[in-house]
């Protein structure tokens, strides 16, 4: 049975602020949800993760918190500092401190990685690298790091695994297996949930279906949800 958000939060001894920090959902949203506003789907996911529950364990619309158990009142704002009679001193402008050795080494390394000429870089930043201030060095580090990231855009594409949305979808190992069988042109025997079988060579597959060509040339698409098992036909499988 799903529960009110505030109940789940209190069960875990969390304050609204702590839950906000854990979940990444702004505290004002959590206050609103606990007061009865409908939880946004995106926030529901984050809150469920932070509370270690399933999404459906949280009510989409919480009942208001009973008044006999009021939330602890927010801490009073700190009292304003007593104003001194003397006028506030105008802060003196401090001289910028020079860049640290670490910053300069990092900058030189970035310039080398980008394949830039040090003289050209000095012209670009209007002074030699060694004379940069701490703040200026920090700013240029960001700039060169950004340029390096852009240059790295020529790297091979992201090879992270792709996952189908529904649980029965073709995932990593199965995709590799199907692709290998397709490329080898193996005859594969597919058995459905009701024990019906189909034999054929894989023509292609998607996240939720596999298309085969049977011996008589008929193309059949098998829905993954109807499929139980499959294996390479006995006479073709390598030992």
């Amino acid at each position: 049975m799903s529960k009110n958000l505030w109940e789940l939060r209190k069960q875990r001894n969390l304050t609204v602020k702590q839950l906000a920090a854990k979940s990444g959902v702004p505290a004002k949203n959590i206050y609103a949800y606990e007061a009865g506003e409908q939880v946004k789907i995106a926030d529901m996911d984050k809150l469920a993760k932070a509370l270690f529950v399933n999404k459906i364990d949280i009510k989409f619309q919480s009942d208001p918190i009973p008044k006999n158990k009021p939330e602890p009142p927010p801490k009073p704002a700190p009292a304003p500092k007593p104003q001194s009679a003397a006028p506030a001193a105008v802060p003196e402008e401090r001289p910028s401190r020079p860049a640290t050795e670490g910053q300069l080494n990092h900058l030189r390394a970035l310039v080398n990685k980008l394949g830039l000429d040090h003289t050209a870089v000095a012209q670009r930043i209007n002074q030699p690298l060694d004379e940069l201030t701490f703040q200026a060095a920090r700013s240029w580090l960001k700039t060169f790091e950004g340029e390096l990231k852009l240059a790295a855009g020529q790297r091979p594409p992201d090879t992270r695994r792709w996952r189908a949305f529904l649980p029965e979808g073709v995932d990593e190992f199965e995709a590799n297996y199907l692709l290998a069988r397709q490329q080898a042109g193996d005859e594969v025997t597919f058995t459905l949930l009701d024990d019906t079988t189909f034999n054929g060579r894989i023509v292609g597959f998607g996240p939720y279906s596999i298309t085969i060509r049977q011996a008589d040339g008929t193309e059949t698409t098998i829905q993954k949800l109807a499929l139980a098992t499959y294996q390479v036909a006995a006479e073709e499988e390598n030992p």
């Binding site: 049975m1 799903s2 789907i41 399933n54 999404k55 459906i56 364990d57 989409f60 996952r163 189908a164 529904l166 649980p167 029965e168 979808g169 073709v170 995932d171 990593e172 190992f173 199965e174 297996y177 949930l193 009701d194 024990d195 829905q223 993954k224 949800l225 109807a226 499929l227 139980a228 098992t229 499959y230 294996q231 390479v232 006995a234 499988e237 030992p239």
Partner: protein
């Protein structure tokens, strides 16, 4: 077969009724809870929803609870443990067929099982209905 797999299976057998229609039939305004129930990897905790869905599909509550006690996460635990210890596994499919062998790999949708003849069989996880210690011997993984 977990309850989520069972729910998708039953809905497909009905001809792929939209979840919005299912939700309305069981008295819900939105299909969100039905959609989520069909994609659970852990047991569904909303007993009321389970009862309503069982009623909608004309199945017994016990049947739904039986499936709910065998979620995908527990099957993952069984397979991952056997893969590590190189133990043989036994899987019972929806048709009643029992398969034995050594797990060679697993992913979200399937299990690669090497049988006693050394042949690799790809088993769909949603077809696995039971396994030893399914509802009792598990850890969340």
């Amino acid at each position: 077969m977990s309850l989520s797999d069972h729910l998708r299976y039953l809905r497909a057998r009905q001809g792929g009724t939209e979840t919005t229609v299912v939700a309305q039939a069981i008295g819900l305004e939105k299909p969100t809870a039905v959609n989520l129930a069909e994609k659970q990897y852990r047991p569904l905790r909303d007993e009321d929803l389970i009862a309503r869905l069982a009623d909608y599909y004309g199945r017994s509550l016990e049947e739904f609870q039986w499936h709910n006690a065998r979620p995908r996460k527990y099957l993952t635990f069984y397979i991952a443990r056997a893969l590590k210890s190189k133990e043989w596994i036994t899987l019972t499919l929806r048709s009643g067929r029992q398969l034995k062998g050594k797990a060679e790999w697993w992913d979200l949708g399937s299990i690669g099982l090497r049988d006693e003849n050394g042949r690799l069989l790809v088993i769909q996880r949603h077809a696995v209905i039971d396994w030893p210690g399914a509802a009792t011997d598990w850890q969340d993984v």
